[in-house]
């Protein structure tokens, strides 16, 4: 997109986008100030004595107005040719590039999720959320002046992902803030908000009419989108030349990311099937009757955490990762890093069996596959497979078996004791295994990044790797 453009040409292009962009942000904050002022949620911060006028109370509405002014100034600045200066400092960008390595990224997002969860009461405060909202947009604006960032974000097929990030943030806040409010109310013994407006709604005109309007508005929006960002044309498909990077559609980027850690049959078949099966099993597993019909966290902590982890961490962040951080040759790139196809990452991955036999104090060569000379030719492969499974790959096999067989009883006896007693054996085992499968992905990711672990069980002779 910016291919072959000189820097001045690039900045001119970005400026034409950023001018209106900051204006829109200014308007957004202006409207917020107006809302605050009109809705009577004004908070007076302090008074400023002014000559002639007397004392003026500075309120939060004025604060948001000031933010709007700042954005208006940024817009003028960007439009007036100063766009180059309107970027994150190089040091910050470097820091972000460094901080988006795989380990920091995944561990960081997980920690972030924990922080958000623990301090949800504070984060859902409108003022705080609005600040975060503003900062997110500002961050995007300041990053757009970076060529490499722009190249990724402004690509027409990546725009939905950027939208997704913002929409997700908004809806997460919406749900969480209501849940937090409900939890507080219920603590005080009040019914949840949803119970207050317990009136019936007519299909006609209320529901159908609303749907009609939504339909029209959405269609119009799609048309505007299609006009503004037409579908990009790319090179003719070629069987001998694949695009680099070759990326799945954005909604499959999470699945594609799994391919990095698992053998295709696991990442492409077993795990996706389990996701579907697991989602179908939820109603049967869920034994918690509370929280139906209203938002709550306290009453459904387990479900909430599992869902947020599975959706936000295991799905959305992987999409963002796949979009923003995976570049040519499927290497990791910081968001401000040039996608240079010549970047090489040293990735010499090692199987667990090699760690165990060769790189440990054992210091011996890998046990060979059993020869099984006397076996029937039809049976020999099975014999060899199991021979390998319990021979060379024994440590991995034990680990996997331990993980899936030994861990659930332990869980039942310890952390999930109450669950077990309420769910019964089968339901608990299903739940526990699904949970373990879900957890296996982050575990495998961390093992790969930290220990360069290739496979826990590696029997390439029979296309069986785990």
């Amino acid at each position: 997109m910016t291919h072959g453009l000189t820097d001045p040409q690039f900045y001119a292009m970005v400026a034409s986008f950023l001018g209106p962009y900051y204006i829109a942000l200014a308007v957004m904050n202006g409207l917020a100030a107006l809302y605050v002022w009109r809705s009577g949620k004004i908070k007076e911060w302090f008074g400023v004595p002014l000559p002639f006028v007397g004392k003026i109370q500075v309120t939060n509405a004025m604060g948001w107005l000031a933010v709007a002014t700042v954005f208006a100034v940024l817009s003028a600045w960007a439009g007036g040719g100063g766009v180059e200066a309107l970027s994150l400092p190089a040091a910050w960008r470097d820091a972000i590039n460094k901080g988006t390595g795989p380990v920091i990224y995944s561990v960081g997002t997980s920690l972030g999720l924990v922080v958000l969860y623990v301090f949800r009461g504070w984060f859902v405060k409108p003022a705080v959320a609005w600040w975060i909202w503003n900062l997110m947009w500002l961050f995007l604006g300041l990053s757009m002046t970076d060529r490499d960032f722009y190249e990724i974000v402004a690509k027409p097929d990546n725009v939905p992902i950027v939208m997704l990030v913002f929409l997700l943030a908004f809806f997460t806040w919406l749900g969480t803030s209501q849940a937090v409010e409900n939890d507080r109310r219920m603590e005080r013994g009040e019914p949840p908000l949803e119970k207050l407006n317990n009136e019936k709604v007519l299909v006609w005109p209320d529901l159908v009419y609303t749907e009609l309007i939504c339909m029209i508005a959405l269609t119009a929006f799609l048309i505007f989108w299609a006009i503004a960002l037409p579908a990009p044309l790319e090179a003719p498909a070629s069987s001998v030349k694949t695009p680099n990077p070759s990326k799945a559609p954005w909604y499959f980027l999470g699945l594609q990311e799994m391919l990095v850690y698992y053998d295709p049959w696991m990442a492409g078949v077993v795990l996706p099937s389990l996701i579907v099966a697991g989602l179908m099993a939820i109603p049967y597993i869920d034994f918690n009757k509370a929280g139906s019909g209203y938002y709550t966290i306290k009453e459904r902590k387990f479900s909430y955490i599992v869902f947020q982890f599975g959706f936000l961490e295991m799905w959305v962040t992987l999409i963002v990762l796949g979009t923003l951080l995976r570049g040519p040759n499927w290497n990791f790139f910081g968001p401000y890093e040039l996608w240079d196809a010549h970047k090489v990452e040293a990735l010499n991955n090692v199987n667990l069996s090699e760690y165990f036999w060769e790189k440990s104090p054992l210091n011996m060569s890998l046990p060979a596959s059993p020869a099984l000379e006397g076996w029937h030719p039809l049976l020999r492969p099975f014999g060899q497979f199991f021979g390998l499974l319990f021979g060379r790959e024994l440590p991995g096999t034990l680990l996997v078996l331990g993980y899936f067989i030994a861990l659930p009883p332990i869980m039942a006896l310890t952390v999930f004791r109450k669950f077990y007693s309420r769910m019964g054996f089968i339901r608990f085992m299903v739940m526990a295994n699904l949970l373990l499968f879900m957890a296996s992905l982050p575990i495998k990711m961390v093992l790969r990044w930290v220990f360069n672990l290739k496979y826990v069980i590696s029997i390439p002779e029979y296309f069986f790797n785990f």
């Binding site: 997109m1 291919h3 072959g4 453009l5 000189t6 820097d7 001045p8 040409q9 009136e199 019936k200 709604v201 007519l202 005109p205 209320d206 009419y209 609303t210 009609l212 309007i213 029209i216 508005a217 269609t219 119009a220 048309i223 505007f224 299609a226 006009i227 044309l233 790319e234 090179a235 003719p236 498909a237 070629s238 069987s239 001998v240 030349k241 680099n244 196809a341």
Partner: protein, 1554 residues
């Protein structure tokens, strides 16, 4: 809960939201439609239509202005003619005709109409008969009354008389007024001529009214005439109608009778019917007769009236033609102008019904596919949707562009407009005064444009054209026509010129293709409907928007402009981006795989692909193919592109085999023959078999000893294998096989180090000292490594090449030479024997050929004794040293010197020695740096380190390699695992260490740099090219190109404009560079191929910037630097980018017909041996434009009829066609007369006398000597009759208007022309300079017509001396018979004659017998002419006879003519030699005299034609004639008598071979 009316949301608010969302939806939909509707191409098309309409309107208005006066004149002429009295004889004749007809009809009536036997009985017949008679009767009644007619005639003639006299009076008055006016003012300006003939510009009222009355009367008269004619017509029609009915009845009756026969009707019935038929038949024939007479009568009457009106009709017809042309232009203008209907139909939705003349202009090319990776897809080229005028030719031309494509800056012109001598009358307009009409702009209403210019007006003379935008009038900017009016019409001084600044022509996309002779038009070789656009230009043909069609800017400046104006962006997803203008020729290579097909030809004298051909030639010249294979074949015979590859190495392999001492004598003979004729497959197979056999012996342990050859020789058998589609190019560098015998170590060292040291113009590239990428401080170590190892490589190479070379036997001067070598003689020999055709030398400024090296410094190279010996051998017999050299053998045989009288002086000189002496004369201005002959300690250390580096590999780690190098070498037991070079290191010791290491390093270095790509190096016969193959480089994935740190390099060290500011910028801004460089910088920014190769050629090692630290020394880049200029570099890139391996479907690939193929193949050989260095292969082509009557007709010459040249009607019409400037065109082949002292084309004045250099008053002309019959203004100008006085360009060379395309070849001939004259004048001041061309290499334009193919072939293989007068002989190139055949075919094909065989009827026995049956002593008679002292033998040698006198006038031996010349050529030549060679000194011996003898009948009786025929027959059958003079029988008898057999087995004696 019961249902309530209460809704959840406020319905009113919902309605408002719904309304708002619906509104948004409407806006979205409309926006969508608008976006879909407003396509960029529509704007361009509308603008183009506007332009077309404007241009048509301008041409219409101009035509209308021109026609207006003509139409007026025709109208008054018509009026005059119509009011002239009519000759009464017409009336008389008319009446006579009518009367005669009446009497005829009366006669018919008196003889009652007879209807056969039964006619009167049938009612039908009666009716018909009476009917027809009554018809005629009525008409007769009316016709007989002439009174009305006569009255009308009389009335008209009376009035016409009056009108005529009124007119005469007016004419007389006007003449009087004119006469008095002339008396007062002298002859007036332009109007004077017309004035006499057009006195009635404003006819007086009296005349008009009398004419009106006369016209009225005439109409009345014509009505009267017409009445009679109408009656005649009526009668005719009646008769015809009648016949139709009768005819139908007859047919019906005939059919009835047929039916009746089928029904077996009675005979009577049938007979009745037959009678009835007969009756009808008779009536029909009668009617036919009467119709014929009626028709004759009518046409006669019409004829009379027609004659009366003849003159008027002719004029009316002319007017009609003019009016038709005007209305055609009107229609055209209307069609291009948008009207309301179109405007409405262009609306969205409606335009689905009709497109309003706006449509995507699409060329569909189903067979010209484009590669979409998974399939080949038909092309849709929509380029014309915007480039609407691209294939439009200028009116009246077949290939002139209607709107030339030129950049704006070249279209800004200053026009000098001559003002009239005197102030024009008040109120006169620009049109009246200058013939100039202005209007608001074509494309832009704020501009003022020339609407049209009247021919021959002042504006037309100044060169203003319709459509020119007037920018400045004087110094004043022009925004409205009034400004120009004021400037041109209110002048203080008249008679001086006024200045207008104009801009001519249009910008893209409104222009036409610049080469419509080659592309787009139906007459061109690439018509648009077959080829489209993108096959040549690339780009996205189906796109209709500027950015999506993948236009490619030609410079950064253009890119910035395009980005701004057209939203251009670099769409790197489209893998076929358009070629930028600079590389547009690259794509020719897709279909044109031979260079000869792209070079200028007679049909396309303007080079079709100049840059590409230049690049191709450079690739051949610099031997790029030595390292980079450019394969043109996919499989044995499928062509994919140009094929530029090294030939098979057979000669070198054979030479290497010769090194083997074990060869038997026979094997040695074979091998030596193979060295000389490597194309001899049989010999090669034989030799390979011998080697293989010997190798087999060696493998069998028990008989291994019987193998005589070494294993190295055995391995060479592989080099003799057949190759599928072998390459054809020789190595470009000299052989290094015998290097030791040629050069010294110091020279060699210096040469390898930097060839330009010794010879700045050399083609040898520079391998060492290329360190521009190692200049940064942190690269110090890297630089030091290079500086440490490079001298080691150079020294090792030099020593190795000398040590490894074979022994060479120098040639000794012949014994008979008596004189010492003389540099002075050598200088003339060097100049005149043809050395300068290929070499240059500073002693001879004015000629510089690049075929061979510049020899100015030869003395510095060969100053040693062996150098001199070598040079002598080389000059005399170059193939002795280098078998594949292109340098020919010049036949430098000893010369027996003669004194002025032509008697031998006894002194014999050796020209080869003289030339060598000349080259070695003088003190060298350059000497190589002295280098110690032994290795210093430092060098030895470096050598060891380098050897260690080479040796280090995965198998031999560094430490081990170090042990090997410093210790006892590689242990012998490892030998089987070692590579060939490494075996040198077995058994090292302190004695041989340096030498062995040196050889090892040298061999590795040669392999690394690929020296064998250009040179024959012993031991490297089978080495393969080291570089990337280039056959598909033009499509190479740019991700596969290692750009490495090129950006950083160009930002810093590699940027000549490097300064701190740009580094701070962090990015290379192409706009900071000149346009050419900026393009490539931009290209590098985009990681494109062209930028990569540009930098690779410019600084080949620079891609190593900052990478050397982590590479071994031997892994560094190795491409050398060639001494290309920027333009040459671009030409090479053009060629390489065209190598895409994308040959389209078979039918599009250029396929020459056999004749063209022969020409293309021949051109390659011509170029290889530089034939054009001496010979002119094409004369200059002058395309001139001139005014009618510029050239007088050439003088008539009585000549043999068969010499006449006939031109087709089309050619003659073309030569008489006037272009838009009113000029005629002619294409002439020839060369201007040259000055005999300077050798430069002579400018002469109108009397044909040379113009002095300081004379700037005379009009300059060139005396163009024609070499090909031409047509000038419909008149044939024939060769050798008369020179053409062509007006010369005011400055520079060429015609005043038009182009002189240069000759192809003959530089040396033209250079030597004045010099041989001067040389001959030294001994013979009388010698005629004009004949000097005859002493020089002849031009070969029509060589094919001239000589027999088999003779030419033999001559090329082994040239013989032909003309005694020539200063130099055709040298022997040692070409292969295939190459000679190609040349022979070329000459025959180029002169459009028969080949490879020709039928020589004159040499047939039967022909001679027939001729001699009439004149038995014919041959003898012809011989009489030959031997007569006045004719042939005066100048020609004939067999043993030699003429006496000045050798410069001597001609070739006539006894050999029958083998050399083609019969027809010989006849034409003897008939009139000048018609073939305009410069020849040979006279016409048998002048053409129809029916009379040309030479005395005492010699040969017969007419001149018969005499000529006889002479030609004799010359063509000289051997037959000579045989008849020889008698063998007496010899046999004599011999028998002498050696009478004494034994009985005499009969078994083998026939003696004599």
């Amino acid at each position: 809960m019961p249902a309530t009316e209460q809704t959840w949301r406020n319905q009113k608010v919902m309605h408002i939201i719904f309304a708002a969302s619906a509104l948004v939806m409407v806006i979205a939909t409309l926006w969508l439609m608008a976006k879909d509707h407003n396509r960029e191409w529509k704007d361009w098309q509308l603008a183009n239509r506007k332009k077309e309409a404007w241009m048509t309107q301008a041409s219409r208005d101009k035509t209308a202005a021109l026609f207006a006066s003509q139409l007026d004149g025709q109208e008054s002429e018509l009026r005059r003619l119509q009011s002239e009295p009519i000759d009464p004889s017409y009336l008389v004749r008319f009446k006579e005709i009518v009367t005669a007809e009446e009497s005829r009809l009366a006669r018919d009536e008196s003889q009652p109409f007879i209807l056969g036997a039964a006619a009167s009985e049938t009612a039908i017949s009666e009716v018909s008969s009476s009917g027809s008679t009554s018809l005629e009767a009525t008409s007769r009644e009316a016709a007989s009354d002439f009174t009305k007619l006569e009255a009308a005639f009389a009335a008209f003639n009376e009035l016409a008389q009056a009108a005529q006299s009124a007119r005469a009076q007016v004419v007389a008055e006007a003449a009087k007024a004119q006469a008095s006016k002339v008396g007062e003012e002298g002859p007036g300006p332009e109007v004077a001529d017309d004035a006499g003939q057009q006195p009635d510009l404003a006819p007086p009222a009296a005349l008009t009214s009398s004419q009106e009355e006369a016209l009225e009367a005439r109409r009345e008269l014509l009505v009267q005439f017409a009445d009679l004619i109408r009656q005649a017509k009526f009668r005719e029609k009646q008769l015809v109608g009648r016949r139709k009915f009768v005819s139908a009845d007859r047919t019906a009756t005939v059919s009835e009778k047929g039916l009746k026969i089928g029904e077996d009707a009675s005979k009577d019935v049938l007979e009745t019917l037959q009678e009835k038929i007969q009756g009808y038949t008779d009536e029909i024939s009668d009617l036919t007769g009467r119709i014929a007479s009626a028709k004759t009568y009518r046409t006669d009457l019409e004829g009379v009236v027609g004659e009366i009106n003849a003159a008027q009709d002719a004029i009316s017809k002319q007017s009609q033609a003019l009016l038709a042309e005007l209305s055609r232009l009107d229609d055209l203008a209307y069609k291009n102008t948008s009207n309301v209907f179109e405007w409405v139909t262009r609306w969205p939705v409606l335009n689905a019904l009709y497109d309003g003349n706006m449509r995507i202009d699409q060329i569909w090319l189903p067979d010209m596919t484009i590669n979409y990776n998974f399939s080949q897809v038909a092309r849709f080229d929509r380029c014309k949707s915007c480039h609407q005028s691209i294939s439009q030719t200028a009116a009246g031309t077949t290939s002139g562009p209607a709107y030339p494509t030129l950049p704006r800056e070249e279209r800004e012109l200053g026009i000098e407009l001559q003002t009239p001598d005197a102030a024009p009358a008040d109120g006169a307009s620009l049109r009246d005064v200058y013939g100039l009409v202005l209007e608001a702009g074509v494309m832009d209403y704020s501009e003022v444009t020339v609407h049209y210019v009247l021919p021959q007006s002042l504006a037309a003379q100044a060169g203003l054209e319709s459509g020119d935008v007037v920018r400045l009038a004087g110094d004043q900017p022009v925004y409205e026509p009034e400004t120009v009016d004021v400037y041109l019409l209110n002048r203080s001084k008249w008679g001086e010129s006024a200045m207008l600044s104009i801009r001519r022509g249009f910008d893209h996309p409104f222009t036409s293709h610049p080469r419509l002779d080659l592309y787009m038009t139906d007459t061109s070789p690439h018509p648009e409907k077959d080829f489209g656009c993108t096959i040549c230009h690339d780009g996205q043909g189906s796109g209709t928007e500027f950015p999506w069609t993948s236009h490619t800017p030609n410079s950064a400046e253009q890119q910035i402009k395009w980005t701004r104006d057209h939203n251009w962006f670099d769409n790197h997803h489209w893998i076929f981006p358009m070629k930028p203008a600079r590389f547009v020729e690259s794509n020719c290579l897709k279909c044109h795989h031979e260079k000869g097909a792209l070079e200028p030809s007679e049909r396309f004298p303007e080079p079709p692909a100049e840059k590409l051909v230049q690049g191709w030639t450079l690739v051949e010249k610099y031997g790029c193919f030595g390292c980079h294979e450019i394969g043109g074949f996919d499989g044995p015979d499928k062509r994919i592109g140009p094929d530029v590859r090294l030939e098979s190495n057979y000669a070198d392999v054979a030479q290497q085999i010769l090194r083997d001492e074990g060869l038997s004598d026979e094997q040695r003979d074979w091998t030596e023959s193979l060295v000389r004729t490597p194309e001899d497959d049989r010999l090669r197979h034989q030799l390979a078999a011998v080697l293989n056999q010997d190798a087999k012996l060696a493998q069998q342990a028990e008989i291994a000893a019987s193998a005589t050859l070494t294993p190295q020789t055995h391995r060479l058998a592989a080099g003799l294998k057949d190759v599928e589609a072998p390459g054809t190019y020789r190595k470009v560098g000299p052989s290094l096989r015998f290097l030791r015998s040629k050069v010294e170590f110091n020279w060699l060292y210096s040469w390898i180090e930097k060839p330009a040291n010794f010879r700045p113009s050399t083609r040898m590239p520079q391998f060492f000292g290329l360190h521009e990428h190692l200049q940064d401080e942190d690269d110090e170590t890297e630089l030091a490594t290079a500086e440490r190892f490079e001298p080691v490589e150079i020294r090792a190479l030099s020593e190795f090449l000398l040590a490894n070379s074979s022994d060479f036997e120098y040639l000794a001067p012949p014994a008979e030479v008596t004189e010492k070598p003389s540099a002075e003689r050598g200088k003339w020999l060097f100049e005149s024997r043809g050395c300068l055709a290929c070499h240059s030398h500073e002693s001879f400024p004015g000629i510089a050929s690049e075929q061979g090296p510049d020899l100015s410094r030869a003395s510095a190279k060969f100053k040693s004794n062996k150098g001199a010996l070598w040079l002598y051998s080389w000059v005399k017999e170059p193939h002795r040293y280098h078998v594949r050299t292109k340098m020919p053998v010049l036949f430098l045989d000893p010369i027996a010197e003669k004194d002025a009288s032509g008697m031998p002086t006894g002194a014999v000189t050796d020209p080869a020695a003289d030339i060598a002496a000349f080259l070695l004369a003088g003190k060298p201005d350059w000497t190589p740096q002295e280098h110690a002959t032994t290795w210093s300690a430092n060098e030895e250390a470096a050598l060891k380190d380098l050897a260690q580096e080479w040796l280090t590999s995965d198998d031999i780690p560094s430490a081990r390699a170090q042990n090997f190098v410093h210790g006892d070498g590689i242990p012998a037991h490892l030998e089987p695992k070692l590579k060939a070079d490494e075996k040198l290191l077995i058994g090292l010791n302190n004695g041989n260490r340096t030498d062995r290491l040196r050889d090892y390093v040298a061999r590795r270095t040669i392999s690394k740099y690929g020296c064998f790509g250009c040179h024959d190096i012993p031991g490297f016969e089978e080495a393969k090219p080291i570089g990337t193959a280039l056959a598909e480089w033009g499509r190479k994935e740019s991700s596969k190109l290692a750009f490495e740190n090129m950006h950083k390099f160009l930002e810093g060290a590699g940027n000549p404009n490097h300064d701190e500011e740009h580094v701070a910028h962090g990015h290379l801004d192409p706009a900071d560079f000149d346009p050419d460089t900026s393009y490539f910088i931009q290209s590098l920014n985009s990681h494109a191929r062209d930028g990569f190769i540009w930098q690779k050629l410019r600084m080949p090692r620079s891609y190593d910037y900052k990478t050397t630290k982590n590479k071994g020394y031997n892994e560094r880049l190795r491409m050398p630097k060639f001494p290309f200029s920027a333009a040459e570099r671009e030409a090479v890139i053009t060629f390489v980018l065209g190598l895409v391996n994308e040959a389209p479907a078979e039918k599009y690939v250029y396929k020459a017909d056999p004749r063209q193929e022969a020409i293309v193949a021949g051109r390659k050989v011509l170029e290889q041996f530089n034939c054009a260095g001496c010979h002119t292969l094409e004369m200059e082509q002058w395309q001139i434009a001139f005014e009618a009557g510029q050239f007088e007709e050439p003088s008539e010459v009585a000549d043999y009829p068969f010499l006449a040249k006939s031109f087709s009607d089309k050619e003659i019409a073309l030569s008489e066609f006037k272009d838009s400037r009113g000029l005629l065109q002619a294409t002439l082949h020839g060369q201007p007369m040259m000055n005999e002292e300077t050798g430069l084309p002579e400018r002469v004045d109108e009397d044909g006398l040379p113009i002095e250099p300081d004379d700037d008053e005379s009009e300059p002309y060139y005396l163009l000597k024609l070499w090909k019959d031409g047509l000038v203004e419909g008149v044939p100008w024939l060769v050798g009759i008369q020179d053409l006085m062509v007006p010369a360009a005011a400055d520079g060379y060429g015609p005043a208007i038009g182009t002189a395309y240069p000759a192809w070849g003959g530089d040396l001939t033209r250079y030597l022309f004045p010099r041989v004259i001067a040389h001959v004048h030294q001994s013979n001041p009388e010698a005629k300079g004009s004949e000097a061309w005859g002493w020089l290499p002849p031009p070969l334009m029509s060589e094919g017509k001239k000589v027999q193919t088999d003779w030419l072939h033999a001559f090329l293989m082994d040239p013989t001396a032909i003309r005694p007068a020539a200063v130099m002989r055709m040298p022997n190139f040692h070409m292969s018979t295939r190459e000679a055949a190609k040349l022979v075919n070329y000459f025959a094909a180029a002169s459009d004659t028969e080949f490879p065989y020709e039928y020589k009827s004159r040499q047939r026995e039967s022909y001679l017998a027939e001729k001699e049956s009439d004149y038995p002593d014919r041959m003898q008679g012809a011989m009489n002419i030959v031997v007569n002292g006045n004719y042939c033998v005066k100048c020609h040698t004939v067999e043993d006879f030699e003429p006496k006198g000045d050798a410069t006038t001597f001609g070739p031996n006539l006894a050999d003519v029958h083998r050399r010349l083609r019969p027809e050529f010989l006849r034409n030549w003897v008939a009139n030699p000048k018609r073939i060679l305009p410069y020849t000194g040979m006279p016409v011996n048998i002048p053409y005299k129809p029916g009379e003898p040309g030479v005395a009948e005492t010699l040969f009786h017969g007419t001149s034609v018969e005499q000529l025929d006889g002479l030609v027959d004799l010359l063509m059958n000289f051997d037959t004639y000579a045989r008849r003079q020889t008698e063998i029988t007496p010899l046999v008898k004599e011999s028998a008598a002498k050696n009478a057999p004494t034994t009985s087995d005499a009969a078994n004696n083998k026939p003696s071979r004599r």
